[in-house]
């Protein structure tokens, strides 16, 4: 039930959005994140958008780690 599923917002209508989950589309509530726009990347939990997801942030974090870890590779702690 804590399962949050990431998807992409396709369209908005009143307080709902159609979100695409890799081909499966569902209408979900937008009460908790009312400023979502088509194209936004979001987390849906039990029929409701609970947060926006930032792809930029995701990629920044992972590439920062990739560099740091590669640099640390040979060193000891």
């Amino acid at each position: 039930m804590c399962l949050g599923v990431p998807g992409v917002v396709i369209e908005i209508e009143e307080n709902t959005a159609v979100v695409d989950f890799d081909g499966i589309r569902l209408r979900v509530d937008t009460f908790l994140v009312p400023d979502v726009r088509p194209g936004d990347f979001v987390i849906v939990h039990a029929g409701s958008i609970i947060a926006k997801l930032s792809e930029e942030e995701a990629m920044e974090v992972i590439s920062a780690w990739r560099e740091l870890l590669a640099a640390l590779g040979g060193e000891s702690v």
């Binding site: 039930m1 990431p6 209408r27 994140v33 039990a46 609970i50 792809e55 974090v61 870890l69 000891s76």
Partner: protein, 382 residues
């Protein structure tokens, strides 16, 4: 069509090359801790069924050094609903002729005598819904009374609260509130001397609502490192690595590794809805007892949609745990499923004895499905 952002992120956070680098680093850090601090075991608790799923499904326990023990804490919101509250829902379905709407995960969890699924087979009007929107629509289409069985941690609460606050509950609908809060549960566990922990992995989706800041007490008051993280295998590995780095440095802090979804303050609007509609109350957790300020109840203003007031149901006696079932210990991280002699013997996903074996987020059910007990394989193989 290009790759979706979802698949791009998934690819990056399941990349075996980075996983390898992280695991190498983890191994080094563990060596240091063993040498410097004479640590024999490093216990890390997570508090989310989805984290347990990631850990078990990807075999993360297997790739970590044996010194690290990843323990599942109270991460299954339906496992901890007391049987009494299921009994209430069953009673409403069977004796009050109302439609009871439940999340699928809750539907099969046994109460004292039966589950909602059993109640349905006895003629009770019970339907499974995916979300609250669905429940509202089903209530609208019903002539008689409809009751939504509101279970769940901080992720599910605000949606229900938003409908209530915005006056969008149909007149025939009421709510049976069984919500619980994860933060007080973790606080409680950290006070138990027999559950010694070295670090906490905070639940990613709960934190989208509460904010990473909700967990800062773990570092500040309890002196333990804490990492908020996501649900891909690399997310969990990064969290373990971060925790170990902090243990080596001796500087416990809170780190938000899931910044792609979680902010420090969380979803402020969602929190306002919760606060407007619900009050925080002391609440009991299945087989565990009352944890202070760990549950929600509807505020007096909303009495007209409070199923407990409308149906005036009183359950004085109930049975939370079947004899021999160790669910409460598993929920608190005192035991693992393989410590229960019934695991995969008298208790299986097909014939579950305890709530932890029913819900898809229960630790027993996840271990039964995907293994996860390499270091304890004996139990099933004996």
């Amino acid at each position: 069509m290009g790759e979706s952002p979802v698949s791009r992120i998934i690819k990056a956070y399941r990349d075996p090359a980075i996983a390898k680098l992280i695991c190498n680093r983890i191994t080094e850090l563990v060596k240091t801790l063993v040498k410097k601090e004479k640590k024999e075991i490093i216990k890390i608790m997570h508090v989310c069924g989805t984290h347990e799923h990631t850990i078990t499904y990807y075999g993360i326990r297997d790739v970590l050094p044996e010194t690290i023990k990843l323990i599942a804490g109270p991460g299954c919101p339906v496992c901890i609903v007391p049987a009494r509250e299921i009994d209430e829902a069953v009673k409403i379905a069977l004796e009050h002729d109302a439609l009871v709407l439940s999340y699928g995960d809750m539907y099969r969890v046994p109460g004292s005598k039966m589950s909602l699924a059993n109640a349905r087979s006895m003629g009770g009007n019970v339907q499974v819904v995916y979300g609250f929107r669905d429940a509202v629509e089903k209530s609208r289409k019903t002539k008689g009374k409809a009751v939504f069985f509101a279970v769940g941690f901080e992720t599910t609460q605000p949606t229900i609260a938003s409908y209530v606050a915005l006056n969008k509950i149909p007149p025939n609908m009421s709510i049976l509130v069984s919500h619980r809060l994860t933060v007080p549960a973790v606080k409680y566990i950290l006070k138990q001397p027999d559950i010694p922990l070295d670090g906490i992995i905070a639940p990613g989706h709960v934190s989208t609502i509460t904010g990473a800041g909700a967990w800062s007490f773990i570092a500040e008051d309890c002196g333990l490192p804490v990492v908020v993280t996501g649900f891909e295998p690399i997310d969990v590995l990064l969290a373990v690595m971060d925790l170990l780095e902090m243990l080596v440095k001796g500087k416990p802090k809170i780190v938000n590794e899931y910044s792609r979804a979680v902010s420090w303050n969380g979803n402020v609007r969602a929190k306002e809805y919760i606060l407007k509609v619900f009050k925080v109350v002391d609440a009991d957790w299945r087989g565990i007892g009352v944890l202070p300020e760990s549950g929600l109840a509807l505020r007096e203003t909303y009495s007209s949609i409070d199923a407990r007031k409308i149906f005036n149901i009183r359950i004085d006696r109930w049975i939370d745990v079947k004899p021999g079932c160790r669910c409460p210990d598993i929920i608190l991280g005192r035991a693992e499923p393989t410590d229960c002699p019934m695991f995969l013997r008298a208790c299986t996903p097909e014939k579950p004895l305890g709530a932890c074996m029913v819900s898809s987020e229960g630790t027993c059910a996840i271990w039964a499905k995907y293994g996860g007990y390499r270091r304890n394989v004996s139990i099933r193989d004996q």
